[in-house]
């Protein structure tokens, strides 16, 4: 396990969340399109006394090759496990192979309160890439199981491209420190199995991780198990 230096104030995550709050343009479960006149942003939960001084989450992604057509997120599925008492954020991006005059990114799903999408305002022209910061509010996650959120891009009122599926689960046992997940994707089959298991309940997740140990997805399964503290 890896921990960072014990300087909570300097946590990038906390600074970023503070900047997002300062932006006053976000709204829970919606998108920050840069409308500075929007409602004051309210995020869930600052780090609590007695807990590790850094925000905690872990996750996997199923990346997508960039198409020459249409509009698409960088990935199809993101599974993230987050500490329920910390804010956090994930990072993804949107590629455009057609012009989007009025870009909007909105959440739908079982509990859209769990994610706020932040992105720069303005149109997205063909060939451009627009990064998205997904601010997580794990304080609203259920004690067991997970929530699933679909993040959809819009051109005005019209949806464009396929949505990004995000599965969020809380785990107070996690001490992996992470500001978003990075470049390495997970085995799609293992990832979908994990997502399904998370959406069921925590024990199913453990069983799924154990079962995956013996298959082609052993490496991914070991990582999953390690994150959950599961021993073979």
């Amino acid at each position: 396990m890896q921990t960072l230096q014990a300087e909570p104030v300097e946590s990038l995550e906390r600074r970023l969340v503070a900047a997002m709050r300062a932006a006053d343009g976000g709204s829970r479960g919606g998108a920050d399109d840069g409308d500075l006149s929007g409602p004051t942003f309210v995020a869930e939960g600052a780090p609590l006394p007695g807990l590790p001084p850094t925000a905690c989450s872990g996750g996997w992604r199923q990346p997508l090759p960039v198409s020459r057509h249409g509009v698409q997120f960088e990935e199809r599925l993101r599974v993230a496990v987050v500490h329920p008492q910390f804010d956090g954020f994930l990072v993804t991006g949107l590629h455009a192979r057609r012009d989007i005059g009025v870009l909007g990114v909105h959440c739908t799903g079982t509990d859209t309160r769990s994610i706020t999408v932040h992105h720069a305002p303005g149109p997205l022209w063909r060939g451009q890439w627009r990064p998205l910061d997904l601010e997580l509010h794990p304080g609203v996650l259920p004690r067991r199981g997970a929530v699933e959120v679909q993040i959809q891009a819009y051109d005005g009122e019209h949806p464009v491209g396929q949505p990004l599926r995000v599965v969020l689960a809380g785990s107070s046992t996690i001490n992996l420190v992470q500001a978003g997940t990075g470049d390495e994707g997970a085995d799609p089959a293992a990832l979908h199995a994990l997502a399904t298991a998370l959406l069921d309940d925590r024990m199913s997740t453990r069983r799924a991780a154990r079962a995956l140990h013996g298959g082609r997805s052993a490496t991914t399964a070991r990582r999953i198990s390690a994150l959950f503290g599961i021993r073979r």
């Binding site: 300097e10 992105h119 992470q178 990075g182």
Partner: protein
């Protein structure tokens, strides 16, 4: 601190003292220059800039307790730094020589147009962890924890790229013609035009591509930051070989460069000869 944990790449969360020094060194921070850190946390970077580089250091931070810790840290180090409590999106950076960003990529993207507009051409921006979409990094300096840019320098407002990096599914003309990459421009001529890509490092208007030694056609007259276009180079199939050079002229979206003259200076050039 960045690395792979359980197979997941973890970006830098906090910059170490060495990271800060490397970033400032890559940006060429010099004594007496103005260092501005947008989102300065509790001031480690400010202290290093002031103490180790002799720079004037200014930090902008929204968290009040972080500002207090930064002030304490600077006092303990015996350096003077300026700390401002406020929204980093609205900070006036016109006087900055080096700006350090260590935020999320969406925030880097959000800040980019303002930095392009307000900074001096000589100013450098270090983006830690995440690149700024569309900006062209300074090629001759680097830092493995981030990217160094000169966003207000017109020579950084575009770059030649292989034609297949433009995202164009088809060339401008002659769809059946071969599609040589940039590297093949030095090869013997083949029937049909040669193609090269041009990617804008800022919002550019009134783009004109000029060529000596060949005809040239561009697929766009305006580009957004990070967008690319195809440029077709029509070579003479007969006659003496000729050197070809290309120039791109444009103005940025704020019109700032237009006020300096009718066009940008040369952004890049591609030569073909044999």
């Amino acid at each position: 601190m960045a690395g792979d944990f359980f197979g997941v790449h973890v970006p830098e969360l906090q910059l170490s003292d060495g990271d800060f020094a490397a970033a400032m060194g890559a940006a060429g921070l010099a004594s007496g220059e103005h260092y501005v850190e947008l989102g300065s946390g509790h001031g480690r970077g400010l202290v290093i800039a002031a103490r180790d580089f002799g720079a004037r250091a200014t930090g902008v931070e929204y968290l009040v307790d972080a500002i207090g810790q930064a002030r304490t840290r600077a006092r303990a180090a015996g350096v003077d730094v300026t700390l401002e409590h406020g929204d980093l999106r609205h900070h006036d950076v016109r006087d900055a020589d080096v700006v350090l960003l260590h935020l999320g990529p969406a925030f880097h993207d959000l800040l980019a147009p303002r930095l392009e507009r307000l900074l001096r051409p000589s100013a450098r921006v270090v983006a830690a962890g995440w690149r700024v979409p569309g900006w062209q990094p300074v090629s001759d300096v680097g830092w493995d924890g981030g990217y160094v840019y000169r966003p207000a320098d017109p020579t950084m407002h575009g770059a030649w790229v292989p034609h297949d990096a433009t995202g164009e599914a088809h060339p401008i003309h002659a769809p059946d013609a071969p599609l040589p990459a940039l590297e093949s421009l030095g090869a013997a001529p083949s029937p049909g035009p040669l193609f090269v890509g041009f990617r804008a490092g800022a919002d550019l208007l009134d783009i004109r591509v000029q060529a000596t030694g060949a005809g040239v056609r561009a697929s766009a007259s305006r580009l957004g930051r990070g967008q690319a276009m195809l440029v077709a180079i029509d070579l003479a199939l007969e006659g003496a070989p000729s050197d070809v050079s290309l120039e791109v002229h444009a103005v940025d979206a704020q019109g700032r460069l237009a006020r300096r003259g009718p066009a940008l200076p040369v952004i890049g050039s591609v030569s073909r000869g044999r």
